[in-house]
Assembly symmetry: C2
Homo-oligomer: 157 residues x 2
């Protein structure tokens, strides 16, 4: 079990390094917070993502959800040893209420899909599609916004 | 005509000050580029908004479109001397192609609406809804992504 745990830590460290290499993610101060039960969680402080009304900026909410879902795809491809570029194709976002706390986002694969199938398709055909969901939640667990988005995973040439 | 022009410049300066007061917009280095024919245009350098693939980060594209549409609402309310808080309620974004240039976004009101009606509703009822469109375009004018979003304008109490 120790080796599995270390392996997961290594993946999350590699993911954090990718996020840190992106100036907008670095400006948002996004940190990988965990990856449990196929849910990837990111954190960003409110201070770096606040709007003119002292709550979280809509664009930062969109960004952290987009990155959480992207990170989930990246981790799955990386775990399956498949080298793929990952692009967001489209997204629908619903902003439900203002957030006056730090941003915590989690992302997960649509319930009608399995990562095994997505990755198998990708390895066979060189590309795959995945529908992801994400939300930003308050400390009490209540969602403040949610996203559904399609991602394209394309084998690195 | 000179006074009208100065007045528009004053509004765009006030808008820029609001954007500059928001840490995420400041980090994206967003500049108000112009406001013509009821289209508000924002600019942000690629370097501050680049992803791991050397093109514009999807979250930054979402952010600049969300801000361009928000700014359009703010300018209309400000011009009509109506003090309102403006919130994005939902958005649908389509990412059409990667962008390897600076980000230039423009936003405009849905063709089925008139700003006069939105503002009149807002002043009468204390709140109004508006459907906005936005896009990010390349220097050659081609769109790389587009957004449709609903905004709520609520009278400041």
């Amino acid at each position: 079990m120790a080796s599995t745990s270390t392996s997961t830590d290594d993946k999350l460290t590699a993911l954090q390094a990718i996020l840190d290499s992106m100036p907008p993610a670095r400006a948002m101060q996004i940190r990988v917070q965990g990856w449990h039960a196929d849910r990837l969680r990111l954190h960003a402080p409110l201070a770096a993502n606040v709007n003119d009304k002292a709550c979280a900026f809509g664009g930062s909410l969109a960004s952290i959800m987009t990155l959480a879902a992207w990170s989930q795809c990246w981790l799955q491809a990386h775990t399956a040893d498949w080298s793929a570029d990952i692009f967001v194709a489209d997204s629908q976002i619903e902003y439900q209420k203002p957030l006056y706390e730090d941003l915590v986002a989690e992302a997960w694969l649509d319930a009608q899909s399995q990562w095994e199938d997505v990755i198998r398709n990708g390895k066979q055909k060189g590309r795959a599609r995945a529908v992801l969901h994400a939300r930003v939640m308050r400390e009490d667990g209540e969602s403040v916004c949610r996203m559904q988005a399609r991602y394209a995973l394309i084998a690195t040439t």
